[in-house]
Symmetry: C2
Subunit: 257 residues, 2 copies
DNA sequence: AAGTGGTCTAGACCACGGG
DNA sequence: CCGTGGTCTAGACCACTTC
């Protein structure tokens, strides 16, 4: 046998999906049907389905059936827009959403707390691991869909005792607040990763298996030191990052540019 | 029962990994051991392990055992470096690699062909789906590790019959080649997605389940029209994208900036 | 040869969603 | 109620790695 039976079944089903024989939203044959169709045990059929689930091609709904996943990507977060004058770079709390069809992000939860720095946070902020940092956490929905988990980390010696450590919302934005504290932002580095969600992210985004998350780690610097780390976590199935450099023809620009 | 048994087993094992009781590279108990330890059937144990595999936490090696996955991320691709003068933007065939430890990318395969445009390509280039486009395909390794799948698509009316359609390597780069054809690049848009790999990508990168890919779609424009679509596909477990804006302190800059 | 994970079977009961 | 997917069991044989 060249290939395992469950892989053959998965391949046949995958073919039917990519060829359009099974269209998005269509129901696959039930598991007992597939057992008869491919002369396999139910466990083998489920192994085949698990492969397709992990590729994000299908989803199962208990009591209903198994369905071809329609890939929806309505939200685009604007990583950065670069034109001749770099002073125009935004640096808001969350990356702006572009595209006309989606609604505005709404914050469904917001907390400020002090906690010991995780290793990755400590490394970015150049402090000792476990040293206290101020964390501002935001959960955001768009049109009722959870789309963004946002954590901002500030070194204790910069933000301790300031409005960053206590205030709920900061109207003028934390970049301005940092500038008023004497830490003008001179630049930032974005590091973009993709990985599978942890249990917290799985829970908040209500993700099915086979959906990764996109993580943007934005480290902001004054002229001499790191002053902030902002970590954006997006669901990979609904969010795409955009990044515009130079001049592009007018008609290709999303409305909000 | 509040939670399925296989989920409880997975949770216990996940705890041991995150707490460091099971360190990276450590071997987990064998499946028969776990069967005894948790009083479950082997299939249930394997369901638990499948969860952790899909989160990228462990890997199995037939005949050897199951091991805690060490997360290696040695390669960083530079998406864009933005300073005061935006003319300094690179626009090479592949995004440059930064960081001193990794070797140089080597092209292991390179082909040029003409084929009908897939819908996503047609949309980006503003041509009819199925219309012919010229595709330049590159596979790249770093230190023997496959890291990049790169496809560049050119509209037929621009690149047809030119060196872009025939030549092997283009020494001066395709951006310059396009400029010599009268299509000076005025700007580009990057759209960054994350998803699970398809079978081609799985095969080239030799990925285990639970590892997503990062896709960068870079559409380049002249002053009036799209002139190129370049699609970069990176493995999510070894590659991170970087993006630098403004001025950051010298010591934080990777060597190649 | 022995131990590991990979594949497969046959059957059971449960939980959910809809008529 | 019935059909759907979700969970679980017990046992079998195969393929790979090491000794």
């Amino acid at each position: 046998m060249a290939q395992a039976k469950y892989q053959q079944i998965a391949e046949r089903l995958r073919d039917q999906i990519t060829r359009g024989i099974l269209a998005p939203e269509d129901r696959l044959p039930s598991e007992p049907d597939l057992v008869r169709q491919y002369d396999a045990s139910r466990n083998t059929v489920r192994l085949a389905l698990a492969l397709l689930i992990n590729q994000g091609l299908i989803v199962t709904r208990q009591g209903l059936g198994t369905y071809v996943q329609a890939p929806p990507r309505p939200f685009t977060a604007l990583l950065s827009r670069v034109r001749a004058q770099p002073s125009a770079h935004h640096a808001s709390t969350a990356l702006p959403v572009i595209g006309s069809e989606s609604g505005k992000p709404e914050t469904v939860r917001f907390v400020v707390e002090t906690m010991p720095a995780m290793p990755s946070v400590a490394q970015a902020l150049e402090i000792e691991p476990g040293a206290p940092v101020i964390v501002r956490r935001t959960l955001q929905h768009i049109d009722g869909v959870p789309w963004l988990l946002l954590n901002s980390y500030f070194p204790m010696d910069i933000a301790g005792g300031t409005e960053l450590a206590h205030a709920g919302r900061i109207p003028q934005g934390s970049v301005k607040a940092l500038a008023e504290l004497g830490y003008q932002q001179a630049g930032f580095v974005d590091e973009i990763d993709s990985r599978m969600p942890d249990s917290r992210e799985l829970d908040f985004f209500d993700l099915s298996t086979g959906v990764p998350v996109i993580v943007v780690n934005r480290t902001s610097y004054s002229t001499s030191r790191p002053i902030r780390l902002t970590r954006y976590v997006y669901r990979g199935d609904r969010v795409r990052l955009a990044h515009v450099v130079g001049t592009i023809p007018e008609k290709y620009r999303p409305a909000e540019y």
